[in-house]
């Protein structure tokens, strides 16, 4: 089996109005990985995704799935779309049916599966996205987050080898954003390659195995989250902020509160475990924290809190 499940090899594409959306994109997606594609608005993420699924055809370069170059006859396209599913940015342009159950059944039915199998897949997809309770609700009475989860279930039910999700957490509240990311982790654990596009560096840092950074229709950097987010120059060029976790870690290290040779932590819990507890000399209890009060003389934080 080829190491890379999807490859874009110097793909070029222009929209009919002349916008050069992709200008020689080179991107190779490792099989079974959690991949995040970062890039500002208009960088070409959505356009590239549409190439991975055969909706758009490159004007130059080629796209490969599973090591074979994508062909654009009807049968090859169906085969590709069966294997590569896209969850679109705006659920309202994806959901065509007013019934949640019927909506999700559309994809698997197109794959020519028997009815019982379709039913099983729809039930499973609804369970995975926790929308079983919404089964009989019409799509137009769902909230945005619920619609988003239905649109994810749409693709899950097709059980593709690669799931691409365009901005899964945009407009979701923090709780549901977290849930969706957990869901993608679970999907990935089952062996599915997951590709997300996002503007959220914090999320990309803690979630992804591998990161691509796009700008003006090309890939300007790639690597593991540790590599990408320690490359200050790359982040600057891409107009991206450092993840807060990395920033905090760097600051703590620069101030000598963390040893310099420790690896970059992947979660806040990991970071907090690295921070040594300083003991007050002699007592064995935690050292008091000093803050400067108005006169500039150090005062005990606990005392000043009491004074207020």
């Amino acid at each position: 089996m080829p190491e890379f499940i999807l490859e874009a090899d110097t793909v070029e594409f222009s929209y009919p109005d002349g916008t050069r959306a992709l200008q020689g994109v080179f991107m190779r997606i490792p099989r079974g990985a959690k991949v995040a594609v970062l890039g500002s608005n208009g960088a070409g993420k959505t356009t590239l995704f549409l190439h991975f699924n055969g909706i758009l055809r490159p004007a130059g370069g080629r796209v490969r799935f599973d090591g074979r170059e994508v062909r654009y006859d009807h049968r090859s396209l169906m085969q590709l779309r069966k294997n590569v599913g896209i969850v679109f940015q705006d659920p309202d342009s994806q959901l065509f049916s007013a019934s949640v159950f019927q909506e999700i059944s559309f994809g698997p039915l197109n794959l020519g599966l028997p009815r019982e199998e379709v039913r099983r897949r729809v039930e499973e997809a609804m369970q995975a996205t926790e929308i079983t309770g919404l089964k009989d609700k019409p799509t137009h009475l769902l909230s945005y987050g619920q619609k988003k989860r239905v649109s994810i279930a749409d693709i899950l039910a097709m059980e593709p080898a690669v799931i691409i999700c365009d901005e899964p957490t945009a407009w979701l509240d923090p709780k549901h954003a977290e849930q969706v990311m957990e869901l993608f982790k679970r999907i990935n654990n089952g062996g599915t390659t997951v590709i997300l596009s996002t503007h959220d560096v914090d999320m990309a840092y803690s979630w992804a195995d591998y990161i691509f950074i796009m700008m003006h229709g090309t890939v300007i950097g790639e690597g593991t989250p540790e590599e990408v987010f320690q490359d200050g120059e790359l982040l600057f060029r891409a107009d991206l902020a450092r993840p807060r976790l990395v920033e905090t870690w760097a600051q703590l290290r620069n101030k000598g509160l963390l040893p310099a040779d420790l690896p970059l932590p992947r979660s806040w819990t990991e970071l907090f475990e690295l921070v040594p507890t300083r003991r007050a000399p002699g007592t064995g209890g935690p050292a008091p924290v000093y803050v400067l009060d108005r006169e500039g003389t150090p005062a005990c934080a606990a005392c000043s809190a009491r004074r207020r």
Partner: protein
């Protein structure tokens, strides 16, 4: 219209097989319309109202409002039937007067016809309300699909139904965005804003239909919007109940065939 849609999804009769509800509404409506006496239509009106209020749990205020919607048309229509105007020798009037050779008034026959028309229309309307307040559009469409109505028709219907809401939402958002910037402050700006809204809505709808097509394509769409139906078992007791009620109505319609008023004034 949107309120009806919401009630359809939340009514207590939602779990009942849509085919049963459709059959009940249609058969009852046919009996109501075929009846030549007001007794059966009156019974239909009572039964349907009872079903909507007590079985489906629709608030009576809302139902009353719905029933008054056709009332204004109905009253005008019924009045033109009830009032007879004649130039010849005066017919046997129940009440009325003659002015310069023209007689205006009610005759027994015209009054009878008007009453019949009135209750028949209200009865038929109540049947339609029963259906639309208890059966969501999605299920009506599924039913049509099962009855082998041409796929093109069913698919169009379901897409239009879905897009009515998408477009409504888009229009609503644009309206809010405009009015929050004083777009509807005066009559003049209101006309301008409305014009822009409609023009934009058209463009956006077109864009949306393109986006939808792309999304469908990426799920292996090949010209057929095939979806899976959840099978529903019809309930024997419901069918018996429907048969009994409709039988009763049919007998009532036949038995009172001569017409109520005709009997009082032979």
């Amino acid at each position: 219209m949107f309120a009806i849609d919401q009630y359809a999804y939340t009514s207590r009769l939602r779990p009942v097989h849509p085919g049963e509800k459709l059959a009940f509404a249609l058969v009852t409506m046919v009996i109501c319309l075929a009846s030549v006496s007001p007794a059966a239509p009156l019974a239909v009106l009572l039964i349907m109202t009872g079903a909507v209020l007590f079985r489906a749990g629709i608030p009576w205020r809302f139902y009353l409002k719905l029933m008054t919607l056709p009332l204004s048309f109905l009253i005008i229509g019924v009045l033109t039937v009830a009032v007879s105007i004649s130039t010849g020798p005066p017919p046997p009037l129940l009440s009325g007067r003659t002015l310069g050779g023209i007689t205006i008034g009610f005759t027994a026959a015209s009054l009878q016809l008007a009453v019949l028309l009135f209750v028949k229309s209200l009865g038929a309307v109540s049947c339609l309300y029963f259906l639309s307040l208890t059966t969501p559009m999605v299920e009506v469409i599924s039913l049509l699909r099962r009855f082998k109505v041409p796929a093109l028709f069913v698919e169009l219907m379901s897409l239009i139904y879905r897009f009515i809401f998408v477009i409504m939402e888009t229009a609503e958002k644009m309206y809010v965005a405009q009015s929050s910037r004083w777009g509807y402050a005066s009559i003049k700006t209101a006309y301008i804003s409305l014009g822009q809204l409609v023009a934009n809505l058209f463009g956006k709808s077109y864009h949306r239909s393109q986006a939808l097509f792309t999304a469908l394509q990426s799920r292996c769409y090949n010209g057929d919007l095939r979806v899976l139906e959840t099978p529903r078992a019809p309930s024997r007791s419901n069918i018996m109940l429907i048969a009994a009620v409709d039988l009763f109505l049919a007998v009532l319609a036949l038995y009172t065939g001569g017409g109520l008023i005709a009997r009082i004034h032979p």
